[in-house]
């Protein structure tokens, strides 16, 4: 036990416990306890997700009457049926369209402003920063109607100029991209990161006659991959999960996203609880896949990005 612990704690240099503590009985008891708690946490985290996938296999009677965790049968056809009935292929595509544009805007616009506020610091930048910080305090739902009206009037004007119906073109979706570009929290993440970049490097480029914008695209961004990753992940999660404004903007159009659909199912007339749960499963699959692929970058990025925020 002691040897095993000593090896497990081998080169540990963070936190409290070190390899040389392995001989203390307290450490031995604690370490067993820690492992058990970790296992419990993993179960608590995964249980709801596993449950919902299983529940999606149940029929409505089974869901409401059966006390078993497992479904009576693992017949995929129920999922296939709900998928088709609720047109999830379209919603997936729409969700990805919203997400990709949103991530792009989140990185570019917040990055640009953070660059100006953190490095260029033109006169008056403090006032701008104060205003931006203040927006963190505004619950987004309070002004959603005013926001919606602003968006509609611009979209309809553009649609009129282009002589198209806004609901049939990407004009309906574009506002959801650009809104990602006005996020105080991500902006602060960028700003903190930029402020710690080596100053001389940037100054050298400026002296070389690079324009400010060129410095941003050719020097700052390449140096900022970790924070871009963090903001991209935050933005992707936000874009995928958001529903109230998308619901207001996209209902009645062909762009309805997965979460809009899920939100509408609350009160939908021809959908029962099993359909709702299957829709939940569909809505969590893409985030899970993306997370599995990038988990290393995500978890380490959050930690480094977050600590400075």
């Amino acid at each position: 036990m002691r040897k095993l612990l000593a090896r497990l704690y081998g080169d540990k240099s963070v936190g409290s416990i070190r390899a040389y503590d392995a001989k203390s009985p307290l450490t031995q008891i604690l370490s067993v306890f820690f492992v058990l708690i970790c296992a419990l946490i993993i179960v608590i985290v995964l249980l709801p997700v596993i449950w919902v996938v299983f529940a999606g296999f149940k029929d409505i009677r089974e869901l409401n009457r059966s006390t078993s965790f497992f479904p009576a049968s693992f017949d995929l056809s129920s999922y296939v049926k709900t998928w088709g009935q609720l047109h999830f292929t379209e919603h997936y595509i729409n969700s990805f369209i919203v997400l990709i544009g949103g991530v792009f805007c989140a990185v570019i616009f917040n990055g640009l402003l953070a660059y100006a506020l953190g490095i260029l610091r033109p006169p008056g930048y403090k006032i701008v920063f104060g205003l931006v910080m203040w927006t963190m305090l505004i619950p987004p739902t309070t002004s959603v109607v005013a926001q919606y009206l602003n968006i509609r009037s611009v979209v309809e004007t553009l649609a009129g100029l282009m002589n198209v119906k806004s609901q049939e073109t990407l004009l309906a979706v574009a506002p959801l991209w650009f809104i990602m570009g006005a996020n105080a929290f991500w902006l602060v993440l960028f700003k903190q990161f930029f402020e710690e970049l080596p100053k001389d490097y940037i100054e050298a480029a400026t002296l070389d006659g690079c324009s400010d914008l060129r410095v941003f695209t050719h020097i700052i961004l390449p140096l900022s991959k970790p924070i871009m990753m963090v903001v991209a992940i935050f933005a992707a999660t936000a874009a995928w999960s958001d529903f109230l404004l998308p619901h207001l903007l996209l209902n009645n159009s062909r762009w309805s996203t997965v979460m809009v659909r899920l939100f509408e199912f609350r009160s939908a007339m021809r959908v029962n609880d099993t359909d709702r749960l299957r829709a939940v499963v569909f809505s969590i699959i893409p985030p899970i896949i993306i997370f599995s692929l990038f988990q290393k970058q995500i978890t380490s990025g959050i930690a480094t990005g977050g600590i400075k925020g």
């Binding site: 409505i60 544009g101 990407l170």
Partner: protein, 462 residues
């Protein structure tokens, strides 16, 4: 980066351009956007709409019908109305017209109705709901009356069906306790699914309270209302549901988690034998939640010491504030194609037939609707049209239809600030259903004071 921006812009342009062509073609025609078009999940109903649109297009080639499914919801109506993006036809329910008229989101159609003579054919009490200052703002789609959805199988297990398989259901709220106890003992299932999660709780409860003789919001006849939630009758009705929960234990596990939708599920899966539900939601228990048609019955709301009432509501068609006369006129013509207009003719009959056929194909009970138009011709026409599609044993529905046809049984929702009143009542229900020793008179007094304050603040209290 620039490349990406260009790409995005180009993409927008291209997608925009592809639709320019279609948009330009349609410019000449009157655009009729149908908010009442069925959702994409409802294939049978879409098939019926295809028939309506085809018939309509023959008659009105000058109109382009644009499906624009819009499920009337409180959180979307305002932004859409404010931005002027509502479809021409919307389908709100009976509690909404006055709010929509007040906010200026819908337009008056008085002149267009008068030209057709339809204004005289609307059931007068419903016309009042749709009118303000002598102007009429909509037409009824159909009406409903609350009854109770029944899981016949549970009655059967408790030995409570007659030789024809018709459930021996409770005729009064007192009987509901005895019948319910039998069912509970025999099956372990709840007798009644009572709602207490949201305003629907107060809504259903107000129907129970009428049976005990209560009037909850007194209409003073001059546009003002007086709260009357703490009358002895209302307190009796609240005590009745307390007894259902704490003395007889006849409700589902936790009424506070039950809302309009879960009630149908509880009946369909056999967790509850009865649930207050209307004739326009038969598909909820049967098709959506899977109760076989032969196990489903619709019965009247039980009588109480103060009488027997069925809450009467429904859905109406209203027209966006920015709709033109031409658009509304086309919309009214479309009503005929859908079989929803008061003029009985070949086209109306075909529309009704398509509707009945779609209901049958869906597997929902095809029983008569409640037209909100006056006139025997309409009812007779409908009865004749749906006869071939009859897919249920009418014995399971007959008492309901007989009861609601009796004079004085149907009763419109309480007026005033109805939703606010329901909210207050639901709060009392939640307290009563979670606290065995709740002081009901005191709670009802508080609810009454609160509701009166809201009425006063809105300037319609007295």
């Amino acid at each position: 980066m620039k490349k990406l921006i260009c790409l995005l812009l180009a993409l927008t342009m291209v997608l925009g351009a592809t639709t320019i062509v279609t948009a330009a073609e349609a410019d000449e025609k009157i655009q009729l956007t149908l908010g009442n078009y069925p959702p994409d999940t409802d294939e049978a109903m879409i098939a019926a709409f295809d028939v309506y649109i085809e018939n309509f297009s023959k008659k009105r080639p000058d109109v382009e019908v644009v499906p624009a499914h819009y499920f009337y919801a409180l959180d979307t109506i305002v932004p859409m109305a404010e931005a002027g993006t509502l479809p021409v036809i919307i389908e709100p329910w009976y509690t909404e017209p006055q709010k929509l008229i007040e906010a200026g989101y819908v337009r008056s159609i008085t002149e267009l109705l008068k030209e057709r003579g339809w204004d005289e054919m609307i059931n007068p009490s419903i016309r009042d709901l749709l009118s303000k200052d002598g102007e009429i703002y909509g037409i009824p789609r159909d009406a409903y009356a609350l009854g109770m959805h029944v899981n016949v199988d549970l009655f059967e297990q408790a030995g409570l069906v007659d030789e024809n398989g018709v459930p021996m259901y409770p005729k009064t709220w007192d009987e509901l306790v005895t019948v319910g106890t039998q069912i509970k003992d025999a099956t372990g299932s709840a007798a009644l699914c009572l709602l207490a999660q949201d305003n629907a709780g107060g809504w259903h409860w107000s129907n129970i309270a009428w049976g005990f003789g209560a009037t909850l919001s007194v209409d003073n006849g001059d546009g003002t209302f007086t709260a009357n939630l703490d009358s002895p009758e209302a307190i009796d009705a609240m005590e009745y549901i307390r007894d259902l929960k704490w003395e007889h234990d006849l409700l589902t596990a936790d009424p506070l988690t039950e809302n309009w939708g879960t009630g149908f599920t509880q009946v369909a899966v056999g967790n509850a034998a009865m649930y207050i539900g209307a004739n326009d939601a038969l598909n909820q228990t049967t098709v959506v939640n899977g109760l076989p048609l032969e196990d489903f019955a619709l019965i009247p709301v039980p009588a109480g010491p103060g009488g027997q009432y069925s809450l009467n509501g429904g859905t109406v068609y209203m027209f966006a504030a920015n709709a033109t006369d031409e658009q509304v006129d086309a919309a009214l013509d479309f009503m005929i194609s859908m079989g929803r207009a008061p003029e009985v003719g070949a086209e109306l009959i075909e529309g009704m037939g398509a509707d009945a056929k779609s209901r049958m194909e869906n597997g929902e009970p095809v029983v008569k609707r409640f037209p909100a138009w006056v006139g025997q011709a309409y009812s007779d026409a409908e009865a004749a049209i749906i006869a071939p599609f009859l897919n249920v044993d009418m014995a399971l529905y007959q008492d309901y239809f007989d009861k609601v046809a009796e004079a004085g049984n149907l009763r419109l929702e309480e007026q005033g600030l109805t939703q606010e009143m329901y909210a207050e009542l639901t709060k009392v229900m939640q307290e009563v259903l979670t606290n065995e020793n709740a002081d009901i008179p005191a709670l009802m007094k508080t609810a009454d004071t609160n509701y009166q304050k809201l009425l006063d603040d809105a300037g319609i209290g007295q």
